[in-house]
């Protein structure tokens, strides 16, 4: 069931359309990667969901209801451009933002302390934001995004500014939130992280949606029937022609790439097994990054 349904949404600013006739369906309890090059219209879509701005036409349905201001308290938003009051103390700031999201002071404080402890920031609670390192400030920003336990969490480039250790920490938290039932929209350029944590992706280019689906569906629909084999020995007398053969000195293995119909894969494995020692055999699915680049280039040239 879709938690958020975007139907035929169009929004224009003087003379140009920021987004045009967009349709997205974001399943409940999933991590949804929203992809698109700069200026594609991602931020505009996010602002419409956040009700910072309104769509010219079209409709957004939030958990079965037409999007309305009462939903704002059920959404948590981490913008790409982070912003905190530099002169305000950490705990005070988290409580303030929690209260803006309708939490009581007491509840906000309780949850804030819990999160600060989780992120190892308890010693910093009475420090001003300007005294924190960038990574710590990012963690604080993450806390105030999720403090009110939103059902929909919109994260715009959540990993920027984090070192690998903290990236893992945040990644775990995101997955944890998803497992607890939250629906997460994850807008990013970092394709590796998309493949790692997203369940679904949707891609916008030039104000329009270019593809949408689960990660495996998307990758499968773009596969080019390439099979990659690493082996020891020489390829002789095969009935299949390799697209390319190369020596991988790094692994002390040979590598060959075949492009064949999927149903012939078994026959290929059999022949290979008779001729060489197979180290690995795998179907090459295009990465989300490759698909992204392909789609963007298609759009720009066509």
């Amino acid at each position: 069931m879709a938690f958020l349904e975007v139907s035929n949404v169009t929004k224009g600013y003087e003379g140009h359309l920021a987004i045009k006739d967009l349709n997205f369906s974001i399943p409940k309890g999933s991590i949804y990667g929203l992809l698109g090059p700069n200026g594609a219209g991602k931020t505009t879509l996010i602002r419409i969901i956040n009700q910072i701005t309104a769509a010219d036409t079209g409709e957004v349905v939030f958990d079965g209801e037409k999007l309305n201001p009462s939903h704002i308290a059920r959404i948590g938003y981490l913008p790409e451009e982070r912003g905190l009051y530099k002169k305000m103390k950490v705990l005070e700031q988290i409580i303030y933002f929690g209260r803006l999201k309708n939490l009581t002071k007491k509840e906000a404080q309780k949850r804030a302390l819990h999160w600060l402890e989780k992120f190892d920031l308890l010693d910093w609670k009475y420090k001003k934001i300007e005294e924190l390192s960038k990574g710590m400030a990012q963690k604080v920003q993450f806390i105030l995004t999720v403090l009110h336990e939103p059902e929909l969490i919109i994260l715009d480039e959540p990993f920027s500014g984090f070192d690998p250790v903290n990236t893992e920490l945040i990644k775990d938290e995101i997955q944890h939130l998803r497992d607890n039932g939250a629906t997460i929209i994850f807008s990013t350029h970092r394709m590796e992280s998309v493949e790692e944590i997203c369940d679904y992706v949707g891609m916008i280019n030039l104000s329009q949606k270019v593809l949408e689906g689960s990660i495996s569906d998307v990758r499968n629909s773009f596969k080019e029937n390439e099979y990659e084999v690493y082996y020891r020995g020489e390829l002789n007398g095969l009935s299949f022609d390799a697209k390319e053969v190369s020596r991988e000195d790094r692994l002390a293995l040979n590598k060959a790439v075949f492009v064949i119909e999927p149903e012939k894969a078994k026959a290929l494995i059999k022949e290979l097994n008779d001729t060489v020692d197979i180290a690995s055999f795998s179907e090459q699915l295009p990465s989300i990054k490759d698909i992204f680049i392909k789609k963007v280039e298609e759009g720009n040239h066509g």
């Binding site: 003087e14 602002r47 956040n50 009700q51 910072i52 701005t53 309104a54 010219d56 704002i72 308290a73 959404i75 938003y77 913008p79 451009e81 982070r82 912003g83 905190l84 009051y85 530099k86 002169k87 305000m88 303030y96 933002f97 209260r99 803006l100 999201k101 920003q141 105030l144």
Partner: protein, 447 residues
């Protein structure tokens, strides 16, 4: 607490807790007092920094030779040699200029007087020379008419006018024009400074939130209008807090001063001020009190304090709300403080205009037509009406105040609406320099 309340509270508490607030609250009045002290001191002691102007006089007619009045501002010296006195020799003698009284000059036909100098004559010096020649002629005529010097002295009289105002029952109350002026000017200066200082603070706060990109997070929780109003109200509270602190402290200070200097005499003075007319000065001297003190106290008692204080609060808040909303809109329209100038002008112009006219036209004629209109027009009324307030007779002029306040409230509702529209669009616009044309378009964007 609603969202606006929450934002107001944050704006208020973060500012009041700052050290700079404490410092400004204490130092502010001291600085203002010193600032005006210096101005008044220089204005009163206008001889400071000025040498005596020496003027060389060549009186061909001999009509006023040696009769021009000399003092430390201007002194005349006489010569019988006109030609050959070029600028070098004038400088060498320390003269600022030379005055030629022509041959055909006489006191009944005082024409053809020429003043020559290297530098242009200032208006003040010109008037001074004119006056001294006129005085010399007057004295000369008097003595020709046979008026003796003692008779002349006895012509001079000094009158001290006791100004009273009539209420609707025709009862006279004493009023002090000087005190009214001081109170009116003081109140309007405070309003002027606060609108400026706190309006700019609102603008800076908006710019800070915009450049920090905090605004994006906040407007995903509250409406931009709520954010703007919270900021405006928060700073209004900061301003009011400051004023209350000042009022309390000046109250204490006045109490202490009057206790130290006047002590138990205060009761006497109050009694005297209460008795309808001031008693003769010698009688007061017998009682050991100062007549000026009685005048001040009776003037203070004649002032309608509840009206002054109430209208101060109304005009302070109304004027502040009207202007600070505009300042907020300016902050939203720009990316950095350096870009604010083009939008600031239409806001600062009416403010500067009203304070400039308050100190001149309005003060000279508080009930004149121009003063009336300036105190009705909302952009100028918060400042101008406060100058007029102590001079108003509420029994007959209440409608002027009512009209002015009504228009002010209408206008600030309008500017807040206008600013809200610009603010809503502006806070999320980055990297684009807005023009007036664009601001106008923003007014009609769909929310």
């Amino acid at each position: 607490m609603g969202k606006i309340g929450l934002i107001t509270w944050r704006e208020y508490i973060t500012r009041v807790r700052k050290k700079s607030f404490l410092i400004m609250t204490i130092l502010g009045p001291v600085l203002i007092a010193v600032f005006y002290g210096i101005i008044i001191f220089l204005a009163v002691n206008d001889s400071i920094g000025k040498d005596t102007e020496k003027v060389l006089v060549y009186d061909e007619s001999n009509a006023i030779e040696g009769k021009l009045y000399n003092d430390d501002r201007m002194a005349f010296e006489y010569t019988s040699d006109w030609d050959g006195r070029d600028t070098d020799s004038l400088n060498a003698g320390g003269y600022t200029g030379r005055l030629l009284i022509p041959n055909n000059f006489n006191i009944y036909n005082p024409d053809g007087v020429v003043y020559e100098s290297e530098n242009s004559l200032s208006i003040e010096s010109k008037e001074r020379i004119n006056r001294r020649i006129e005085n010399a002629i007057e004295d000369e005529k008097m003595s020709q008419l046979g008026v003796s010097e003692t008779a002349m002295d006895s012509l001079k009289t000094s009158v001290s006018l006791n100004a009273l105002t009539l209420d609707e029952d025709g009862e006279a109350k004493s009023s002090s024009t000087e005190l009214n002026t001081v109170i009116g000017m003081g109140a309007s200066f405070v309003i002027y400074f606060f609108i400026f200082l706190y309006g700019v603070q609102v603008m800076k706060g908006v710019i800070e939130e915009k450049t920090n990109r905090i605004v994006e997070v906040i407007v995903s929780s509250v409406k931009p209008f709520q954010l703007m109003m919270g900021k405006v109200f928060g700073l209004a509270l900061v301003g009011l807090t400051q004023i209350v602190i000042w009022l309390v402290f000046s109250g204490i200070l006045m109490g202490v001063i009057s206790f130290i200097f006047i002590g138990s005499d205060m009761g006497n003075i109050m009694d005297m001020a209460n008795s309808v007319q001031a008693m003769p000065a010698d009688q007061m001297a017998e009682l050991g009190v100062n007549s000026m003190m009685v005048n001040v106290v009776s003037g203070m008692m004649a002032i309608n304090w509840p009206f002054i204080i109430l209208s101060f609060i109304i005009y302070f808040l109304g004027g502040y709300l009207m202007y600070s909303a505009l300042f907020a809109a300016v902050g939203a329209a720009v990316d950095a403080e350096t870009d604010t100038q083009q939008f600031m002008l239409p806001i600062t112009l009416p403010l500067v205009f009203s304070i400039a006219l308050s100190t001149s036209v309005v003060l000279r004629d508080p009930n004149g037509a121009l003063s009336f209109w300036l105190s009705i027009i909302p952009l100028t009324s918060p400042i101008v009406m406060m100058v007029r307030a102590p001079f108003l007779n509420l029994a007959t002029q209440w409608w002027e105040v009512a009209l002015s306040i009504g228009l002010l409230i209408t206008t600030f509702c309008f500017t807040i609406w206008l600013a809200g529209k610009i603010y809503r669009t502006g806070i999320l616009m980055y990297g684009k320099k807005a023009t007036y044309k664009e601001l106008f378009k923003w007014l009609f964007y769909k929310g």
